[in-house]
């Protein structure tokens, strides 16, 4: 009986030991945040792990807010975010003894997409704002067919949604009272928007330019009627011509040190930036 207990204890200890070092790697990093950036983070992590076999990096999504919240509560080492940190969040981080450090790792253009059957090819920012606030309700008001406009948006907690609201609907003016039309459909993912756009000639939506495909038509955007219309291409975003573009950010706890610093250096290296381009985002150099 005693021997049996001993074995039980031993095997239990073994189990604990094994799960604790399941990856057989000495160093781990937790990366969490923006759904827009999760594929990018994954690609960086895979390449980095190939070069440093002793390191394990776990990349998860959940959204910019989730990532920043995890950074504040200390459950991740690096937060990916497609929006800048809010002052409230900085205060909460400081209360926990964390000084978030911001890095611009890549750029992303937000593509405005419609069904390929739609006759429109271009829009100005104010036309776009009128569409998404519900002031323009039919495509014929813009020279399109007589079809009611269906608005597709990301969820209110998505970084893309927040960026679009601030820079297109409010046109960058914090005191602008305009809001998304309440009849905008809130879709759970960029993929869901792409799917509905492909099937529905009434629809208009927005998402990161990496998601565009042949089944959607991307519109050229101009700041106002007298400016040039630009398509969301890598060159146009890099040059700053395309109006609706945003930085893809990474937040770390204070100045990066050790493994976090190695990982950040890799992201900013030529290879790290090459991965950015491979995933249809825009490199910063």
């Amino acid at each position: 009986m005693k021997i049996f207990t001993k074995y039980l204890l031993l095997s239990f200890l073994f189990l604990v030991f094994q799960t604790g070092f399941a990856h057989g790697k000495e160093m781990t990093l937790q990366v969490k945040g923006s759904d827009t950036m999760v594929n990018l983070g994954q690609a960086w992590a895979e390449e980095f792990m190939k070069r440093h076999p002793q390191v394990y990096i776990a990349v998860t999504g959940g959204g910019s807010g989730t990532g920043i919240a995890a950074l504040i509560s200390g459950t991740c080492d690096i937060a990916e975010a497609s929006r800048t940190i809010k002052s409230k969040e900085i205060q909460m981080a400081q209360a926990n003894g964390i000084e978030p450090e911001e890095f611009i790792t890549a750029l992303d253009g937000i593509a405005i997409v419609v069904n390929p059957e739609n006759r429109l090819n271009q829009l100005t920012i104010s036309e776009l704002a009128d569409i998404f606030t519900g002031r323009i309700k039919n495509w014929k008001e813009l020279g399109g067919e007589n079809l009611e406009i269906v608005l597709l948006s990301r969820e209110v907690t998505s970084g893309t949604h927040v960026f679009f609201r601030e820079h297109v609907i409010k046109k960058g003016d914090k005191n602008n009272p305009d809001e998304f039309s309440p009849s905008a459909l809130l879709m759970p993912s960029s993929q869901a928007i792409a799917e509905e756009i492909a099937l529905n000639p009434n629809a208009i939506g927005y998402y990161g330019m990496g998601y565009t495909g042949d089944r959607q038509k991307t519109l050229a955007i101009a700041k106002d009627k007298s400016s040039t219309y630009y398509e969301p291409t890598i060159e146009n975003v890099m040059q700053g011509y395309y109006y609706i573009s945003r930085p893809l950010l990474i937040y770390t706890k204070g100045k990066p040190q050790g493994l976090v610093k190695d990982f950040m250096d890799f992201i900013f290296s030529d290879d790290g930036q090459r991965i950015v381009r491979e995933l249809d985002f825009v490199p910063i150099k």
Partner: protein
């Protein structure tokens, strides 16, 4: 010696008794704890926002600088989807229960029952996905709507989900009608239809009401499928052919990203309380119906 053994048995008895008692009241404790937890996370919201403004506010803009947290559009959304689903599922489900228990030949009866139970086993996310790619484009085409992501699409899909609940509980109720009632009706010269409609359905009515209420509960609390196919537009719907956002979908979609301790966070818990109270009332009605049936 004898005394010692006796007391050991008594302790054992007592232990077993207490364990069983604890198991019995565990679920009650859990429900109470859940309610306390929800209430605790909700109270901070109502310090800054009056309850009437929360329940009857027309605007749900939770993530703006000064958030609007009115859940009337969400309540209406849940109501529209639930009503639509019930209108579809109740006649179908109850008729199906009658067919299965009273009319169908034995072989068909068991096949049907097995298939209906299988329907209950399909995960709701799968039903939602099927609805998204098949039902949604179809609805858009048939009704010439700007989008197929509407309350109606959600209702149809949820009717499928409520069917197994309604059929199996209603069928139990119909089976429980004593055969002497039916025999008496037949002996008086009633046709099968007259017997089913005037005797069996009356005798089983309390069970059928309970089945319907539990079906409603199932629909009201469903999350994943409605989130995928109702469009999630937080406006007050004017018809069932418009996109809506339900209470459950709001919690599921937004909880992941709210800042802990923000007004938005507390508001989502408050929505949880609203859901809790509504399903509590639905279950209470179902329970009441069953007891009334038994006492008659």
């Amino acid at each position: 010696m004898f005394e010692k053994k006796w007391s050991f048995r008594r302790v054992k008895e007592l232990l077993i008794e207490k364990t069983i008692f604890f198991c019995g009241i565990a679920s009650i404790i859990f429900v109470i704890l859940i309610f306390i937890f929800l209430a605790k996370e909700t109270i901070p919201l109502f310090k800054s926002l009056p309850i009437s403004k929360f329940l009857f506010g027309h605007r749900w803009y939770p993530s703006t600088e000064s958030p609007h947290l009115g859940i009337l559009p969400l309540i209406m959304g849940s109501l529209f989807v639930t009503l639509g689903a019930i209108v579809i599922a109740v006649p179908l489900g109850v008729a199906c229960a009658f067919y299965v228990s009273e009319i169908a030949p034995v072989k068909i009866k068991y096949t049907l029952k097995a298939i209906i139970e299988l329907l209950a086993a399909i995960p709701s996310v799968v039903l939602g996905f099927i609805g998204m790619v098949t039902l949604v484009p179809l609805i858009k085409k048939i009704f010439h709507l700007p989008t197929g992501l509407t309350a109606f699409s959600g209702s149809i899909m949820l009717a499928f989900m409520a069917m197994p609940t309604i059929v199996s509980i209603a069928e139990d109720a119909i089976n429980a009608v004593p055969s002497r009632y039916k025999e008496a009706a037949m002996a008086l010269g009633a046709t099968q239809w007259q017997m089913l409609w005037r005797v069996v359905s009356k005798a089983a009515s309390s069970g059928i009401v309970a089945a319907v209420m539990l079906g409603i509960g199932r629909v009201f609390g469903e999350t994943m499928a409605v989130m995928m196919i109702t469009g999630n537009a937080a406006h007050i719907p004017h018809s069932i052919f418009q996109p809506v956002r339900t209470l459950t979908a709001t919690i599921a979609a937004e909880m992941g990203e709210t800042v802990r301790g923000s007004e938005h966070y507390y508001a989502l818990f408050a929505i949880g309380i609203v859901l809790f109270i509504v399903s509590f009332i639905i279950n209470l009605i179902a329970d009441f119906a069953v007891h009334r049936g038994r006492n008659e």
